[in-house]
């Protein structure tokens, strides 16, 4: 489902052909890559296309996809967030600690954890804007700090390294309906996280291409100086983008804690790079100012299909990461080829 933009047609402009119009979309490479991966695993792996199989790889892609979309927006805005992976564990831990240790209602715990997430996002953004340091460095610091907080606070409060017992907390079932329910389609249970992913990608795509804030995002990522000169609120835009990433981490953390009913203090480490690579497969540039939310969602889909497809194909798991790496590189290379063509079309 691609929510592509189309500039309003104007009779003064020559209409470019459909092919040229398609080829300049940042997500086209990812779409072709996704098709290729899909066809490949449908052929080599028996259960890949079974309803259970589809539900499984969509689920795998969903939580990655929610984050990838937010990270893509941030990358279009010209920044990185390396703390995004650990944030998914931090938000889950905050929710779990308030619900199981303090004994609050799960809804209230979720609210507190949301406040915490937005706070961390705002601090990330504020530090980056205030210090002028690259966000790569600032959020690397936040990443390590959060990792330490996750372990330290968890052990301090619970005396162990997992927080569990969510299932007996007040409001678990009603909050679970929102974040961890399953939807039965034709006899197969699909996780609600897939819906969140689609919804999040659609909203992000709409914001990026149809709102003023979306324009600002592309502008500050393209050139912060020029956009400031034409009156774009650079600081506010970037801080909002960091908060968006934190918000997405809160959604994913909530999905995780309500579905798994427990959370480990060391979860989420290393996932930040998966978000970035999913966004890059989706057509984002590391330099900012270019990319798409839908592309990032498709990038996550490629990731999910490859990750579960390798298992369905029953290849030796020792080589798992090698397969994954090669596949992702191939996807990025396809993308690059397309972007070069696209740039030729634009000229």
């Amino acid at each position: 489902m691609s929510v592509a933009v189309q500039t309003q047609s104007d009779e003064r402009l020559a209409k470019p052909g459909l092919w040229d119009r398609l080829v300049v979309r940042p997500e086209i490479g990812a779409l072709l890559g996704a098709l290729a991966v899909f066809v490949f695993f449908s052929v080599v792996a028996g259960q890949f296309l079974s309803p259970l199989g589809v539900a499984n790889w969509l689920d795998d892609a969903s939580t990655l996809g929610i984050m990838a979309v937010a990270v893509a927006m941030l990358m279009i805005g010209g920044e990185f967030d390396l703390s995004a992976g650990v944030m998914t564990a931090s938000t889950a831990l905050v929710t779990a600690i308030f619900a199981t240790q303090v004994g609050l209602n799960v809804w209230f715990a979720l609210l507190l954890s949301l406040v915490f997430a937005l706070g961390v996002g705002a601090v990330n953004g504020w530090l980056v804007m205030r210090t002028g340091l690259p966000s790569f460095i600032v959020t690397l610091g936040t990443f390590l700090a959060l990792q330490g907080l996750n372990l330290g606070v968890t052990r301090l409060i619970t005396g162990t390294v997992q927080v569990s017992g969510m299932r007996s907390a007040d409001g678990y079932e009603s909050a679970g309906m929102l974040f961890a329910s399953t939807i039965n389609v034709g006899g197969t249970d699909f996780q609600v996280s897939i819906l969140w992913w689609v919804l999040f990608a659609a909203v992000a795509a709409w914001v990026l291409v149809r709102t003023r804030f979306g324009n600002w995002t592309f502008a500050v990522g393209g050139s912060a100086l020029s956009s400031r000169a034409v009156g774009v609120p650079v600081v506010r835009t970037k801080i909002t983008l960091f908060m968006t990433t934190a918000f997405a981490a809160w959604i994913v953390g909530s999905i995780n804690i309500l579905r798994n009913a427990s959370v480990q203090a060391n979860q989420g480490i290393g996932l930040e790079f998966q978000y970035i690579i999913a966004a890059v497969i989706g057509g984002c540039l590391l330099t900012g100012g270019f990319g798409s939310a839908v592309g990032a969602a498709i990038g996550a889909l490629i990731f999910g299909m490859a990750r579960q497809g390798i298992v369905y194909a029953q290849w030796n798991s020792d080589w798992f990461m090698l397969f994954l790496g090669i596949m992702l590189l191939a996807a990025v290379l396809v993308n690059n080829t397309f972007r070069r063509r696209a740039e030729r079309v634009r000229r």
Binding site: N56, Q162, A202, N260, S317
Partner: protein, 332 residues
Amino acid sequence: MTSDRFVKFKFAAAVAAGALVLAACSGPQGDKPAAGGGAAPTPNSGGGSLRVAVVTHGTSGDAFWNVVKNGAEAAGKQLGAQVDYKADGDPGAQAKLIDNAIAQKVDGLVVSMANPDALKTSIQNAVKAGIPVITINSGEAKSAEFGALTHVGQSETIAGEGAGERLKDAGKTKLLCVIHEAGNIGQNQRCDGAKSAFGNVTTLQVDINNPTDAQSRIKGAVQADPSVDAVLALNSQVAAGAVTAIKGAGSKAQVATFDLNTDVVTAIKAGDVLFAVDQQQYEQGYLPIVFLKLYKDNANTVGGGRPVLTGPGFVDKSNVDTIAPFAEKGTR
């Protein structure tokens, strides 16, 4: 500004929303007291080929889990069963691997439960789908509740107590317990067990994926507190690092460890390592395949509702020579 594409998008959204209303929606189950377990899966009568998925929480490349994998694959070869070994340390990802095995309609499932709560739904789904499940290594307390046939492993607390006991008998007074996986509950239980038997224990957190740093941290800890005269490592790789670190620091502390590998065997022979607590994890890979085969062919269950214990066994100077060749082969 509504282009016709946007109208289409709205229409698609409406259709999707409609589909959702029609689709049955079910939330997660809360904990209710006295919830009945699912029906036990019915064994198919007769032989035929057996396909087993082994899904563990060990990081790939971990020496301990490599032995488990070897055990499972050896049993598979001997019994003519196909064994797929998969591992992921993240509980959510591990749950997805279990779902994946269910979708593949495997004949049996072997799962290690470092984080039982996270795997509950997936394991119960497997049981519902009629797949016999055997839990290994950790998660013993929840094994029967989730509907598993049996649990194969060792009690971490008992093993920790055993190690603490032995160190106390060796006349040690202050122990440093080195935890190498931040989210692993079993390692905490080991250190707690050691604490209850030994008394004066401090814990140190290191990262197994960064051996150099782990070594320096142990070195720093024994240098900072010269009264430490014993170090308990929870993994053979960490133990090897601890031996080097202690030598480097010029400390008089001795190392004891959980789990074996060739380095530890050599170190026990040389007297650098006092003893190793061996949970014989080869059996944790091997036995479940045998049990599943028995269950499939003859509807047998093992253990009588109790876990099948594979440890703790102790390896020290007295029996190390017997075990050394097996450690070489990657089966101890």
